[in-house]
């Protein structure tokens, strides 16, 4: 049994995702408490040089295999399961992302490990792992105790600062042999599809006016667009708006969309599900309009308005124009 804290590194197109650093930073703190090491798990093909960017880890376990060149829910889960089986770390942190979701629950079953998902915090408490999950649309926090001597927590991106995990250095890289049959999968990666170009890059905008479910109808979009224009910014949105095809995917802020850090993030009719907040909470100034005073968006917003957006938005647009 080890006291190590493992972090599964996430990467896409050869680039380590920020969430990995966030988890590494947290893992450092936790490993200090458990008395173990921080171990980054890097699975891929031809990306061993990325290990250098995982300097916050004491060690990088690197598994190289052609079947790991691109993320594949099946081969990655098999590989991770193999690594965890061999190492039995005290705690494994996996990003609660599109990729991590496929891994965490899989290894929980495969390796019979307790799992807590949607964590925004993880602590050791009297030798037990305690994870706090953000559930029910961010309205309720749930503190869980994970039993046993090895467990998995999948952590929401943006829960911890990335800086602490961004250390250059040269951690020991230990290459791990891939398990047998890794390329015999029932899920086969075909290709990546890049977002259609031509649309505004919302990550590059200083001012974003972002719309959520509260605008009720596609027909109300022009009203908000007008505000964005008056502010000299671009229109962004939360997931339901994109799911409804009211705006292209390129405008989506949040977990499955884009992370943005504009100077002004103006949230219109967005309640602030954790997945959304994850993508915008680092904005310099956040102003939110939502009729529900309990909406989680007000937790991250600097200024809040509970008046009807259909009154405030046109009034503001008009004043900005004059």
């Amino acid at each position: 049994m080890s006291q190590d804290v493992f972090v599964v590194a996430e990467h896409l197109q050869g680039k380590i995702d920020d969430v990995t650093y966030e988890l590494l930073g947290k893992a450092r703190e936790l490993a200090g408490q458990s008395g173990g090491h921080v171990v980054a798990v890097l699975m891929g093909s031809g990306i061993q040089d990325q290990a250098g960017s995982l300097g916050a880890a004491d060690k990088v376990l690197y598994m190289e295999h052609a079947a790991l060149e691109n993320f594949n829910p099946e081969s990655y889960a098999k590989a991770l399961s193999h690594i965890l089986e061999q190492n039995k770390p005290r705690l494994t942190l996996i990003p609660n992302t599109s990729m991590g979701m496929d891994l965490a629950a899989a290894v929980s079953v495969k390796n019979n490990l307790p799992l807590v998902a949607y964590a925004t915090d993880v602590q050791f408490d009297n030798g037990q792992v305690v994870a706090t999950s953000q559930l029910y649309g961010g309205k309720i926090n749930v503190e869980s105790v994970l039993e046993g001597d090895s467990s998995v927590v999948s952590v929401l991106a943006g829960s911890f600062p990335a800086d602490a995990g961004k250390q250059d250095g040269s951690p020991a890289v230990e290459t791990v042999a891939a398990p047998d049959g890794l390329d015999q999968t029932r899920v086969r990666f075909k290709n990546l599809i890049q977002p259609e170009g031509g649309d505004v890059d919302i990550t590059q905008q200083d001012i974003l006016v972002s719309v959520g479910r509260g605008i009720q109808s596609e027909d109300n979009l022009p009203m908000v667009e007008e505000l964005a224009e008056a502010l000299g910014g671009a229109l962004a949105s939360s997931r339901p708006i994109v799911d409804n095809k009211w705006l292209p995917k390129t405008r989506q802020v949040g977990k499955s969309g884009l992370k943005v850090k504009p100077k002004l993030y103006f949230a219109v009719g967005i309640s602030g599900a954790p997945e959304h907040i994850e993508g915008m909470k680092d904005s310099e100034l956040i102003i939110a309009i939502n009729t529900d005073p309990e909406a989680p968006i007000f937790e991250v917003a600097h200024y809040g308005v509970t008046e009807d957006l259909f009154d405030v938005v046109p009034a503001l647009t008009e004043k900005l124009k004059s």
Partner: protein, 426 residues
């Protein structure tokens, strides 16, 4: 009208001589005919489909006199009119999938003047029901339907908060569940329970009922939307679902009459619920209060020029034109002025028949909202207060006051708010 002939450059007219086609000499100026001739294949299938529906029969009665179109509120701001609907359907337009289907507000002004009794109040819900069953339903409307099904109100508010407004009403508002028996059951309805401006009116009415010593109670969280507008928008199943629930709930309590704030609830409870076994004496609050005005002490002089907007479902649909006016005229300092269209010929706010939940959709089909048109009329006659007594109207007209740039010139008040204002401070 510009002459169509001029749209062809005279130099472009092709002169041909001795042209013979199919044995006919068609020499002459060729492209004079600026449009191709169309040979209509009259596809009467669509009209047959509509008239085969229960309630859709009378669309086939239209004899194209054209009386309906000038009084149709939507025609004034768009290209919709019952006569035209008939004609288009007769020519094969599929009304079930046409945007025209959702534009009727069921205001009933066409039926009022129709010599053939082509009854849009029956036709539209019947066709809409079919459209809903086939999955053609505007998204906004679908949202309202889903909210109603899930929460018992189209606003999507928590059913548990239906009586939340009573907490700071300032006067007791008894709940039937505790009271069991009352002279008057006040059926509050959704907008008066949840919409901030509706709540203002509800609180005002609660105060007046207390002042008059009326023995009343509300259903509170047990009350569900009467769904009259959802019914007219085509969701008859939804209507039946909640009619059954409301009737079952009301059966548990003893009361002599039902008081409503909402003319749409009046219409449902009075005309539709009996079909499902719920027979009640139902009265709109204006009708209820008009004979009791002498019992109220009006200490505050208002000094308002008030014009009154007849709600379609109180006036045309249920024949009450006088009570609201009696109340207004009894308020000290109120000068009542009538708009160009009033009483039987009152204009429609656009909220009926599902219009309440189709504002975005309608914006694509009309040049201005009906409520905006109405607000302009109120301003035109020099009113400074637009008095209403239907909970759809307050918010619609307040929005329209803003969008027409008449803020500061005109305010929108429910009659009951004016009553309370005239009663002065407690």
């Amino acid at each position: 009208m510009a002459s169509n002939k001029l749209s062809i450059d005279p130099d472009q007219i092709i002169e041909k001589e001795h042209v013979v086609q199919e044995g006919m000499d068609i020499s002459g100026q060729w492209n004079r005919m600026f449009e191709q001739r169309v040979i209509w294949d009259y596809n009467t299938e669509m009209l047959d489909k509509v008239t085969a529906l229960e309630g859709g029969e009378s669309l086939g009665y239209c004899y194209q006199c054209g009386q309906c179109v000038p009084v149709c509120p939507v025609n004034l701001v768009g290209d919709y009119g019952p006569r035209k609907i008939f004609r288009r359907v007769q020519l094969g337009e599929d009304l079930f999938q046409s945007p025209l289907l959702w534009q009727c507000t069921t205001c009933m002004n066409c039926l009022r003047v129709c010599p053939k009794e082509v009854d849009m109040i029956q036709i539209m819900p019947a066709v809409r029901q079919e459209a809903v069953l086939q999955g053609y339903v505007p998204e906004e409307l679908q949202q309202a339907f889903e909210n109603t099904f899930d929460y018992g109100n189209p606003l999507g508010e928590s059913p548990k908060k239906r009586a939340a407004w009573t907490k700071d009403a300032g006067v007791p508002v008894p709940i039937m569940k505790e009271k069991k028996k009352a002279d008057v059951l006040w059926f509050v309805e959704c907008y008066p329970s949840y919409h901030p401006r509706g709540i203002d009116a509800s609180k005002a009415l609660a105060r007046v009922l207390n002042e008059l010593g009326v023995d009343f109670g509300i259903l509170g969280v047990e009350e569900k939307c009467t769904c009259d507008s959802q019914r007219l928008a085509g969701e008859i199943g939804l209507f039946e679902e909640f009619a059954e629930q409301n009737i079952k709930t009301m059966k548990r309590y003893k009361f002599n009459k039902i008081l409503v704030t909402d003319p749409h609830a009046l219409n449902a409870l009075r005309k539709e619920y009996p079909k499902y076994g719920g027979k009640y004496e139902v009265v709109h609050y204006t009708t209820f209060l008009a004979p009791m005005l002498d019992k109220l002490n009006f200490t505050n002089k208002l000094n308002y020029k008030v014009t009154f907007h007849d709600p379609c479902y109180l006036g045309r649909h249920n024949g009450e034109f006088e009570a609201p006016r009696q109340i207004l005229q009894a308020l000290p300092g109120v000068e009542l002025i009538e708009m160009f269209r009033c009483r039987e010929n009152s204009y429609c706010c656009g909220g009926g028949g599902g219009g309440m939940w189709l504002d975005g959709f309608m914006a694509d089909h009309v040049s201005e909202r009906l409520s905006e048109r109405r607000v302009r009329e109120a301003v035109e006659v020099g009113a400074d207060v637009l008095a209403v007594c239907c909970p759809y109207e307050v918010s619609r007209f307040e929005d329209a006051v803003k969008s027409t740039g008449n803020e500061g010139k005109l305010v929108v008040r429910d009659i009951i708010e004016l009553v309370v204002e005239a009663m002065g401070a407690n």
